[in-house]
């Protein structure tokens, strides 16, 4: 893991969206959560998806992560188009090629930290790669917590266990949905630091939905969504630039609402 894939290497696509449209409801009540989004997410990159509430950022992630099916358009993960896959194949894809970190309730309460980390592998009936497991566990700093159940751990520790679980199956891409939404700033920093390291040290691809500029500042690239469309993009962001873009988006959204 000495190479740095994001510098200079030919950027490979980890997942992409093609004209993704997702609508909820019918007729008058129809809501277009995604209004034809096309985007490529690069391998070995830490991407943030930002936007005001209702901009469609979570929907985009869910469609790419095989948790939701788009109304039209195509979602591709690791070269596989999700459109034609049956539930069984989607399950396998999630298990083997996608990692998840949710905002809360990430862990199965009846299982210990170690069992939770190994859950995707044991569901697949695969033997864990012990070295890799150790590396991940040490990296999240949970060596002494492995035997604990979720109820015996703090929120930050639980999120780190969730991160370790997302990585242990060596997925093509990790989706994190507001992973620091419920955490204090110290725990947030630990979790984000770990996600950053997983990209830098392990060459992992991470996509994170967030509305926290601090969290977004850990990433390589930020996609800004508004009203179901990607309206802007920022590379190597710093906090001020993010705040500026965000407030502009809020203004545009507010203006549009007044007009409509």
């Amino acid at each position: 893991m000495t190479e740095q894939p994001r510098e200079g290497a030919v950027a490979e696509v980890a997942a992409s969206a093609r004209d993704l449209v997702k609508t909820y409801g019918k007729g008058e009540a129809e809501v277009r959560a995604l209004d034809g989004v096309s985007v490529d997410l690069m391998k070995g990159e830490f991407t943030a998806v930002m936007g005001p509430s209702g901009s469609g950022k979570s929907t985009l992630m869910h469609c790419l992560a095989a948790l939701d099916t788009p109304t039209s358009g195509e979602a591709i993960v690791d070269g596989t188009s999700l459109g034609r896959l049956k539930d069984k194949d989607l399950t396998t894809l999630r298990r083997e090629r996608v990692g998840f970190v949710f905002q809360s309730f990430n862990l199965v309460p009846t299982l210990s930290a170690e069992e939770n980390i190994l859950l995707p592998l044991s569901l697949a009936g695969r033997k864990p790669d012990r070295d890799w497991f150790d590396q991940v566990v040490d990296s999240v700093g949970l060596r002494d917590r492995l035997g604990h159940r979720p109820s015996e751990m703090s929120g930050g520790q639980q999120q780190r266990v969730a991160c370790a679980r997302a990585l242990v199956s060596k997925p093509s891409i990790v989706f994190a949905d507001e992973p620091t939404g419920n955490l204090d700033s110290t725990s947030s920093a630990e979790v984000l630091g770990f996600l950053r390291r997983s990209v830098d040290e392990f060459g992992q691809t991470v996509v994170m939905v967030t509305h926290d500029p601090v969290a977004a500042s850990y990433t390589d690239r930020i996609l800004f969504l508004a009203d179901g469309l990607i309206v802007d993009e920022l590379r190597e962001p710093d906090r001020d630039a993010i705040l500026e873009k965000m407030s502009k988006l809020q203004d545009v959204a507010a203006a549009r609402k007044q007009a409509g």
């Binding site: 939701d68 949710f102 009846t110 995707p120």
Partner: protein, 850 residues
């Protein structure tokens, strides 16, 4: 608050439907049993009252069997009847001729009526019952007016496949046994129905020919009182003119005697059935308790919000209790309706055993309706009370908290109390075993009930090893899904324990009964092997008497060495000053050549006015070898008998065994109730059996059994009862399975987010279903294992207390294995709905659920 309760009910209608179902089934069973019992009593009351005259002239004496038609040789002549009719108190005197030993064969040549209700054959003569109506009324056709004609009860005619005008086959107890008659009509008791008995009405001449060898006489006389004459006056007047050996009794006395006799039998049925209704209701209470516990714990946030908004604890409790009340109301109403249907089903079941109950007496009485509602409401409210209190204890601040699971309190208190109760149970059982005062079975029963309740309370603790084992077994076989299922069954021990307990109760009873039944079969097999030393037994399935001509012919069969003829008759002996109804077995000299009685004292050789007593009888009568006992026979004749010997209790003969000659002397009409046959050395058993069977070929219901067949007959009867019990317990098990469905459904709902997460990280739908199914199986197996273990212990202990009668102990191992398999199947079935529902959840929505 009421509006909120109402909304709650509507919002959770599917969930509540399941626990309402528990009430519906429990109350349905209770109402069904009560309706059936009431109907059964009404049926017999109607028949007894509808067929009894104002007064009856019948053989004297205390022997009640005489009223059931044991033939005696004392008779009433037509002149006696005329004398009675001439009395000013008598409006009408009707002579009757009846006797045992008649059977109706259907068109298929099989016995009509089976082994249950008797066949009553008598002469038809119009007579009035106590209410001034005709005893019998025609349904179709006419009455028998000359020899060769017969009128049957409508139901038997139908069961036999006969229509008016057909030729009917009857077996009669004298002369040519197999005779054909022309069916001239069908009739029934004025009281309605016959309760399954077969009525055979003959022309008086023919009845006299069959039962009295043609003597122009009667066996009893029915009297109708003249206007203004009371029944007592009528009986008193008649007593003055009845022939010797006869007496006159009022209809009221006859009715009371019959009701007492039938009442005992009906009480047994009613208590038997009610026991199962109670079990079903107790199981239902568990389900209701569990459902409310889960509902309350899932509503913590709502309860907290209510408290935060200013609702008092009492209001929160009340809202849960009102919910329970409404549920009970709906459940009991549906249960009562179900009960009405169920009672018809029970009536159908008993019809197959030959006990016919008319549909019109099966109605919901006000008492049944009241009992149903009261039981349903009380049980539901009591079961919901603890959860309701728990709901009120939620602090208002919980509304603001994120973490909403109610922590289960420690098990320590439960464990301590449970252990104490268990010890009390052991003490009670021990008291029963060492013979504490009173009935052993009551001590043991009380202990067993405490055990069952305590096991239910302790199930979360004592069930743990079973759940740990199933976790590791599931994990090994089914991988992670299995492991998770095992964990899920373990995560809420109270919930799992309470759900499993419902099943445990049913299986404990099933297993205990199974132990007793298999011990009974084993004991009887051993008795047949050790004591029934004859090669063949010839008996009727009803153990009634049959004509002696068959025995006479069997003595002539080639290869037959010994033939012993026995005749059982009801007798009355005074025990401590009151007449005690019992049976005497009349035996011939060959009896002791075939059977060996183990003598405690005296000799087994009897002749003349002598008798043998069993040890038990000897103790009752406080009479032993050399003493003289006074025995009253049917017909009222009392004969003093010298006790020649006392033998160890044995089922091969009655506690009172007398020479056949004594029965002759008492004026009892001779018949055989059992013939024992030994084959000569070297004779071909098969051929002998064939020849013996040829003798009875015109009486196909009289069977020639070898030992194996006799054993099978007995174990068949035991098994028949066992299957009835299993069938009745099945309802309790069904309710328990509904409980599992309920708990699983609620658990699945509660774990929606977790299921969403598991699906997101790669649990397939199929494995999710497997996981839920295995959790269900774990609960079912826990209930089955606890129930069977407890049932085995209770069964063994009960057998120990009955060891005088159940000398052998046999464990129904194969049945238990079968029960376990059935429990697993029930577990799988119970999981179908919850598993399908879980696997249909949309992953994303499940994760997003609050």
């Amino acid at each position: 608050m009421f509006r909120l309760t109402w909304r709650n009910l509507l919002a959770r209608k599917v969930r509540l439907l399941m626990s309402t179902l528990a009430i519906v089934l429990g109350i349905g069973f209770l109402a069904g049993v009560m309706t059936f019992s009431t109907g059964l009593n009404a049926t017999f009351d109607n028949i007894v009252e509808g067929s009894t005259p104002d007064a009856q002239v019948r053989p004297a004496g205390d022997v009640q069997g005489a009223n059931a038609g044991v033939g005696t040789t004392s008779l009433v002549t037509p002149a006696d009847v005329d004398k009675l009719a001439a009395l000013p108190e008598v409006a009408q005197a009707t002579g009757s001729v009846d006797g045992l030993g008649s059977f109706l064969l259907g068109k298929d040549d099989k016995l009509v009526g089976g082994q249950g209700a008797p066949t009553l054959a008598f002469n038809y003569a119009p007579s009035e019952n106590i209410q001034g109506e005709q005893v019998l009324e025609l349904v179709e056709g006419g009455w028998p007016e000359k020899p060769g004609e017969v009128t049957l009860d409508a139901s038997s005619a139908e069961r036999g496949g006969y229509a008016v005008g057909d030729t009917v086959t009857l077996i009669v107890p004298s002369g040519q046994p197999r005779r054909t008659f022309t069916l001239v009509g069908t009739a029934e008791f004025n009281g309605g129905g016959t309760a399954g008995a077969t009525l055979v009405l003959l022309d008086t001449k023919e009845a006299q020919e069959i039962f009295l060898d043609g003597a122009d006489a009667f066996t009893s006389v029915s009297l109708t009182a003249a206007d203004g004459v009371s029944r007592t006056e009528l009986a008193d007047a008649a007593k003055a003119v009845v022939p010797e050996g006869f007496t006159a009794v009022t209809g009221d006395k006859v009715i009371k005697e019959q009701q007492d006799q039938i009442g005992q039998f009906l009480d047994v049925i009613s208590i038997f059935l009610t026991t199962f209704a109670v079990i079903a209701i107790v199981v239902g209470a568990f389900i209701i308790f569990n459902t409310f516990s889960i509902l309350v714990s899932q509503r913590v946030r709502e309860s907290a919000l209510l408290r935060a908004l200013g609702a008092s604890k009492r209001q929160v409790t009340r809202s849960v209790l009102i919910e329970a009340f409404l549920m009970a109301l709906v459940g009991s109403t549906l249960g009562l309706l179900l009960g009405l249907g169920l009672s018809r089903g029970l009536a159908g079941l008993f019809r197959t055993f030959g006990l016919d109950i008319a549909g019109e007496v099966l109605t919901l009485t006000p008492f049944t309706i009241a009992s149903g509602y009261v039981t349903g409401i009380v049980v539901t409210m009591v079961a919901a009370f603890v959860p309701a209190r728990r709901a009120a204890k939620v602090p208002p601040v919980a509304a603001m908290r994120d973490d909403l699971t109610v922590q289960e309190k420690g098990m320590r208190r439960r464990l301590v109390l449970g252990t104490i109760a268990m010890v009390v149970g052991v003490a009670l059982v021990a008291a029963g075993l060492v013979g504490a005062p009173g009935t052993d079975a009551i001590w043991i029963g009380a202990g067993a009930v405490i055990w069952v309740v305590t096991t239910a309370v302790l199930a979360p603790v004592v069930g743990r090893p079973v759940l740990l084992l199933s976790r590791s077994v599931f994990g090994r076989i089914f991988g992670t899904a299995g492991r998770l299922a095992g964990e899920n069954a373990l995560r809420s021990p109270r919930r799992t324990g309470a759900t499993a307990s419902a099943l445990m109760i049913g299986l404990a009873v099933v297993s205990a009964v199974g132990v007793l039944a298999s011990s009974l079969s084993a004991t009887q097999d051993k008795i047949v092997d050790d004591q029934f030393t004859s090669d063949f037994l010839v008996q009727l399935p009803t153990f009634q008497g049959f004509p002696t001509q068959y025995g006479d012919q069997m003595e002539e069969v080639d290869g037959v060495d010994l033939v012993s003829r026995q005749q059982g008759v009801p007798v009355s002996i005074e025990v401590a000053g009151t007449p005690d109804q019992t049976f005497a077995n009349g035996v011939d000299a060959a009896f002791t050549e075939i059977y060996t009685l183990k003598m405690v004292s005296g000799t087994d050789q009897i002749s003349g006015d002598q008798a043998l007593l069993s040890e038990g009888r000897s103790d009752d009568l406080k009479a032993t070898t050399g003493d003289t006992i006074e025995v009253q026979f049917p017909g009222g004749k009392t004969i003093p008998l010298e006790v020649a010997g006392v033998f160890e209790d044995t089922p091969v003969t009655s506690g009172l065994t007398v020479p056949l000659a004594v029965l002759d002397e008492a004026g009892v009409k001779r018949s055989d109730s059992s013939i024992s046959i030994n084959v000569a050395d070297g004779a071909d058993r098969g051929a002998v059996k064939q020849d013996l069977e040829d003798v009875v070929k015109d009486l196909p219901i009289l069977s020639v059994q070898d030992k194996q067949e006799f054993k099978e007959l007995i174990s068949g009867q035991v098994n028949q009862l066992l299957y009835v019990i299993y069938g009745l317990l099945a309802l309790a098990v069904v309710i328990a399975v509904i409980g599992i469905v309920n708990t699983l459904s609620l658990s699945v709902l509660e774990r929606t987010r977790e299921i969403g997460l598991l699906r997101a990280v790669g649990l397939s739908r199929r494995k999710l279903r497997t996981m839920i199914t295995l959790e269900s199986v774990a609960i079912a197996v826990l209930g089955a294992v606890l129930g069977m273990a407890l049932g085995l212990v209770i069964g063994v202990v009960l057998r120990q207390s009955l060891k005088d009668d159940l000398t052998e102990l046999a464990l129904p191992i194969s049945s238990l294995a079968l029960f376990l398999v059935v429990a697993v199947i029930f577990g799988v079935l119970a999981a179908v709905i919850p598993a399908v529902r879980a696997s249909r959840m949309k992953v994303l929505q499940a994760i997003a659920t609050e």
